[in-house]
């Protein structure tokens, strides 16, 4: 710690400035977090109802139907792993945890004999992951434009065999249209047989303080859970397969939308918490510096007094 008074003063000033910045960042994140949380809550009832409907529909499935393909694992051993991280840093362990979860998921897939293709949404995870090499794969440094992925998802998959690439887009405010586009592209890749499964790694939103990084399988669609309170047969209009064609793609888009919303809410929550901690640390440090400064100042005054008194005594 600097001993002289001038250095201490500069130090205190700089800590104060940092504190102001982190405080402002916290406030901004808090506002964004509020909005993101509201979006998650608004979208939840739709997702829940649709999921119940899918469970009901799948339970009533009879025979093989092409719409059911979304529910069956593809024959390809390739697995698309979508990793959702943030575009910006300064959000505590958010991105580190995502990357760890992604690497764990990759390890699991590899040991299960699958070939993962990692697609990053948000640049932070890509910055870390691109320095790695997947087992038996190539070093990924590519950025695939969104346009290309949407138009030819299947060929993007085969070009990036065992690789890591980033989807060229800014992941900031997810909307339903984006989720739909992404869902359609993923569905096409799945339908073409280029990928056998699709997993997503993201931070599940629990509260502002806690985000849980998880890896979930989105395709083949899982109609998880048992159905409760199903009373007899429903009338299906116009037909089972037409309904499945309406509902299953929407279910996929909703799943992806929900994941994107939760990831964004988690990010802002994590940043808010991180910035709150930073502000508190800065406050502590400022206080400690202030005490050191006052002690040093008092010591200087005492020293000067002694000098004057002893000078006067000497006369």
């Amino acid at each position: 710690m600097p001993a002289n008074l001038k250095d201490l003063r500069t130090r205190i000033k700089s800590v104060k400035n940092t504190q102001q910045i982190t405080k402002a960042m916290k406030l901004v994140s808090a506002a964004k977090f509020g909005r993101a949380q509201n979006n998650v809550l608004q979208a939840r009832p739709y997702a829940r109802s649709l999921e119940k409907l899918v469970v009901k529909l799948v339970a009533g499935a009879r025979g093989a139907d092409s719409a059911l393909n979304l529910l069956k694992s593809g024959s390809s051993g390739r697995v698309l792993l979508i990793v959702i991280s943030s575009e910006r840093g300064l959000c505590g362990g958010y991105n580190t945890n995502t990357v760890k979860a992604a690497l764990r998921a990759v390890d699991e897939l590899v040991s299960a004999g699958k070939k993962p293709v990692v697609m990053c949404i948000g640049k932070k995870a890509f910055q870390v992951l691109s320095k790695r090499t997947l087992p038996g794969g190539v070093k990924g440094q590519k950025q695939v434009p969104m346009q290309k992925f949407v138009e030819a998802p299947a060929s993007v998959m085969s070009e990036n065999e065992n690789g890591i690439f980033q989807l060229g887009m800014t992941f900031d405010k997810p909307n339903y249209e984006f989720a739909q586009t992404l869902a359609t592209a993923v569905e096409t890749a799945f339908g073409s047989g280029e990928v056998g499964e699709v997993h997503i790694v993201y931070n599940q939103f629990q509260s502002a303080m806690t985000q849980v990084p998880v890896s979930e399988k989105v395709l083949p669609l899982q109609s998880g859970g048992s159905e409760d309170g199903v009373t007899g047969e429903s009338i299906l209009e116009p037909s089972w397969s037409a309904l499945a064609e309406t509902i299953l793609p929407r279910y996929l888009a909703t799943r992806i939308y929900q994941v994107l919303l939760e990831a964004i809410a988690s990010e802002h929550g994590a940043r808010m918490t991180a910035m709150d901690n930073a502000t508190r640390n800065a406050k502590d440090m400022e206080r400690r510096l202030q005490i050191t400064y006052q002690r040093a100042r008092q010591a200087a005054i005492t020293r000067e007094l002694i000098e004057i008194i002893s000078g006067a005594e000497a006369l």
Partner: protein, 146 residues
């Protein structure tokens, strides 16, 4: 108790991004399926059907409320009716001027592009026209009801 006997059905209208109507008691609901308008009264058999584009109206508190929906699924389960629509709009919040302009645009596209538009473009224009018509109808009925 009187209210629940009078309005035994519960209507919920949801879109992927918003809750439009949530658990409102009503005595009848009409909504468009892909094959035409369906009217649902209490004790209807369980039903799952694809939603078309058009007008939704339901009776509640002695008034009729109008909405528009486009695409999605409807579910009737016991006495609860759930509409999971791609797009849904409350008649009170419809901008008639905008709907009118959208309608004109769609009609123009259909008359001009009927011959040289791709099938998808024509399909888009047709559904845009249907959406605009439904919105204008809903807004008109809403203001007439007041």
């Amino acid at each position: 108790m009187q209210a629940t006997q009078q309005y035994p059905m519960k209507l919920t209208v949801l879109t992927p991004t918003r809750r439009i109507v949530e658990g409102v008691g009503c005595s009848s609901v009409h909504f468009p399926s892909t094959k035409g308008v369906l009217g649902i009264l209490p004790e209807h058999a369980d039903l799952v059907c694809a939603l078309g584009t058009g007008l939704v109206y339901f009776d509640s508190n002695n008034t009729t409320t109008f909405l528009t929906v486009s695409g999605g699924v409807a579910k009737v389960d016991g006495n609860s009716v759930t509409l999971l629509a791609d797009i849904a709009e409350d008649a009170a919040s419809i901008d008639v001027g905008r709907a009118q302009r959208a309608l004109e645009r769609a009609r123009e596209q259909l008359t001009a592009g009927g011959s040289n538009g791709t099938p998808e473009e024509v399909q888009d224009a047709v559904s845009a026209q249907a959406r605009a018509l439904a919105r204008i109808e809903a807004a008109t009925l809403h203001s007439a009801g007041r």
